[in-house]
């Protein structure tokens, strides 16, 4: 994988002499999901501000695609366009009186012609599910909507890397799940994502790579299992182990689960718990089916009709567009986040599920279910109900990258 961002021995001290960072060397590969984790004052936010040249390190250097950041205004513009940053407090970021103006801010300042600005803003707002909010002032939005608007403002500039400072702080659980799922969607579209968080469960579950920080330095980096498996390290960083890891260890100690690598999700934990049973019995048992349909192809009426026709035990909506569809059609949806896992869990106990999926995530869900069936030996069938793509697995086409061809 190509290196997209790199810091080499950077250090930084604030004007009052507090050292915020010292000798941080970090490489970030393209297309990864990275979580910076650490206690308050560990230097996470300072490090993030280095990535797009808002702060300039006092020692060391920052590289974007193997080129050193020059801090003249032209190269700063370039790097800030490619490395977008979403602030922790949405009110800091949404400064224009209407959502449209705010999202248009980046494109306008990049000097895009008005017609192109309009198109980009339209795409970004549609992507985050805020079409129709153009003329609303930010103070009339809920916390989750504000966060989405802030993300749209960055998306409209088509960045390659997105940095999000505490993306789920101050959001209700459902909103934060939706935001995290949107980030997954963006990652599938090829964006590199860096978030900072205190939430160890979130970092463990979501990130490909966890960077543990303390006192302005990097304590440890690696996969979630590696970083959070080291209890000594976790204590030193004033964090706690993720619930899943804790629970898994207790279950292993009691002989209730097989010792393997720590599970990332409830699904994986359940697998470890009925591992023995699975091999002999589960293969014959009746498995539920997972019906998948492309939400972008369906209108509200068709969706309702489909639900009646399929008559599944559970319904799910995956992706922003799918959730919008469910809202429009006034559907009662059982799963709106962690949808694939939930469906597999239900399928394992013989229930069927119908999932509405945004086009961009269609390939992912099929791949995931297939991989799971192969790995576990449980035969779970996913049935694609989409009109055009019957049975054929889709390439991971992505909603937002379509704008590229429109340039």
């Amino acid at each position: 994988m190509a290196m997209i961002l790199e810091t080499r021995g950077i250090g930084y001290a604030y004007a009052d002499g507090t050292r915020a960072l010292s000798n941080v060397s970090l490489t970030i590969e393209e297309g990864r999901k990275i979580a910076l984790v650490g206690p308050n004052g560990a230097g996470k936010s300072t490090l993030m501000l280095m990535f797009n040249g808002i702060l300039r390190p006092s020692t060391g250097e920052v590289l974007f695609r193997n080129r050193r950041l020059d801090y003249d205004s032209r190269s700063l513009r370039e790097v800030r366009r490619r490395v977008g940053m979403v602030f922790q407090n949405s009110d800091d970021q949404l400064f224009a009186p209407t959502i449209y103006q705010d999202v248009a801010f980046g494109p306008v300042n990049l000097g895009f012609p008005p017609e192109k600005v309009k198109r980009y803003v339209g795409y970004a707002l549609q992507y985050v599910g805020l079409s129709g909010y153009e003329r609303r002032p930010p103070h009339h939005l809920s916390g989750g909507e504000k966060k989405r608007a802030a993300i749209a403002g960055i998306l409209a500039m088509e960045p390659e890397v997105m940095i999000l400072d505490e993306p789920t702080s101050n959001l209700d659980p459902a909103s934060s799940e939706e935001i995290m799922e949107m980030l997954d969607e963006l990652n599938l579209g090829g964006k590199t994502l860096i978030i900072s968080t205190h939430d160890v469960d979130l970092a463990y579950r979501w990130a490909d790579e966890v960077v543990l920080m303390k006192d302005g330095g990097v304590l440890c980096r690696g996969s979630g299992e590696k970083v959070f498996g080291d209890l000594e390290l976790i204590r030193e960083a004033r964090l706690k182990p993720p619930l899943m890891v804790d629970l898994y260890q207790e279950l292993v100690n009691r002989g209730l689960a097989v010792q393997k690598k720590p599970p990332k999700s409830i699904l994986e934990l359940c697998d470890l718990m009925d591992e023995r049973k699975r091999r002999d019995e589960l293969q014959q048992e009746n498995k539920g089916k997972i019906y998948i349909c492309n939400a972008d192809e369906l209108g509200p009426e068709k969706a309702v009709e489909l639900i009646r026709k399929v008559d599944a035990d559970y319904t799910g909506a995956m992706g922003t567009r799918a959730k919008l569809l469910a809202e429009e059609a006034n559907l009662r949806v059982d799963f709106t986040y962690g949808v694939i896992d939930k469906c597999i869990l239900k399928a394992l106990i013989g229930k069927s599920c119908l999932v509405f999926v945004s086009q961009g995530m269609l390939g992912q869900i099929q791949k995931r279910i297939k991989a799971y069936s192969q790995e576990s030996g449980a035969q779970i069938h996913s049935i694609d109900l989409s009109a055009r793509n019957n049975g054929r697995s889709l390439p991971v086409a992505h909603g937002f990258s379509r704008t590229k061809s429109l340039k």
Binding site: D92, A104, R136, P137
Partner: protein, 260 residues
């Protein structure tokens, strides 16, 4: 949540009507009010504007009367003073406490009535604009009137952050009240001064964060200005014109009668 004028402006029944026309109607009525020499036209404006606000824009009576109470009580008090101070003409009413003669003369009474009428009519027209036209639409009209862009951009930014600071002020105030910061008058004054100073510091910090936020998105001195919506329907233009003409006629006719 409907606590602010702005909230009503966003959700009233006339929201989607041409903002240009609404501004014309409101400002036209105000001009006629302040230039009218007799109270007839201003009173007509006050009554008709109130009806428009209550019936066409569907603003609840409770909210509207509440809004009017403040400027109206102010107008009543000040015109009372004017009535007492001003004057020639016949004495209409007088009292003589401690040998001092205080009274209202004909002239003073007429002036006071005119003052009340003008304030009342003007306020109703102003509330018509404030309750039916969101600030954003007004910015759009300003832009089309070729007001210098930096001025509009600055006002847009100010408008946006009023709400952020309003929230913060409310939070600080709550924090003070929770710890009994307003138990006595003295304590309330102290608390208020603290609120003001903290709010100043916070707005300063907010300003710095704003610069960072704008820089992070390649700020280059440009802010997109909102476009105007499509124009008014012919019927609406005719109705507005007719209303303003009628008001002007009332004003002129009663002016003449007043002189003759």
């Amino acid at each position: 949540m409907h606590d602010l004028l702005d909230d009503w402006a966003q959700s009233n029944a006339l929201r989607e009507r041409s903002s240009r026309l609404k501004l014309l109607l409101g400002l036209g009525a105000i001009t006629i009010c302040v230039s009218s020499a007799t109270p007839n036209a201003p009173f007509f404006v006050a009554v008709s504007m109130s009806l428009i606000i209550l019936i066409l824009a569907k603003i609840p009576l409770r909210i509207y009367s509440h809004l009017l109470l403040l400027p109206l009580s102010f107008a009543l008090l000040s015109s009372m003073v004017v009535a007492l101070m001003h004057g020639s003409g016949d004495m209409l009413y007088a009292i003589e406490p401690f040998g001092l003669r205080i009274g209202i003369r004909e002239d003073g009474a007429a002036l006071a009535l005119l003052l009340i009428a003008r304030t009342f009519g003007g306020m109703c027209s102003l509330f018509f604009i404030a309750l039916t036209t969101p600030m954003i639409e007004i910015f759009a009209v300003l832009k089309s009137l070729r007001i210098p862009e930096p001025m509009i951009e600055l006002s847009m930014m100010i408008y946006r952050y009023i709400f952020v600071f309003l929230d913060q002020a409310a939070m600080i105030h709550n924090a003070q009240v929770m710890r009994l910061g307003n138990l006595s008058t003295r304590r309330s004054i102290d608390s208020f001064s603290m609120l003001a100073s903290v709010l100043f510091l916070r707005s300063w910090e907010q300003g710095e964060r704003l610069i960072v936020a704008m820089d992070a998105r390649c700020y280059d001195g440009r802010l997109d200005l909102i476009e105007e919506r499509e124009g008014a329907k012919a019927m609406e233009i005719v109705a507005t014109g007719a209303y303003l003409a009628l008001t002007l006629a009332i004003s002129l006719i009663s002016n003449k009668q007043g002189i003759s």
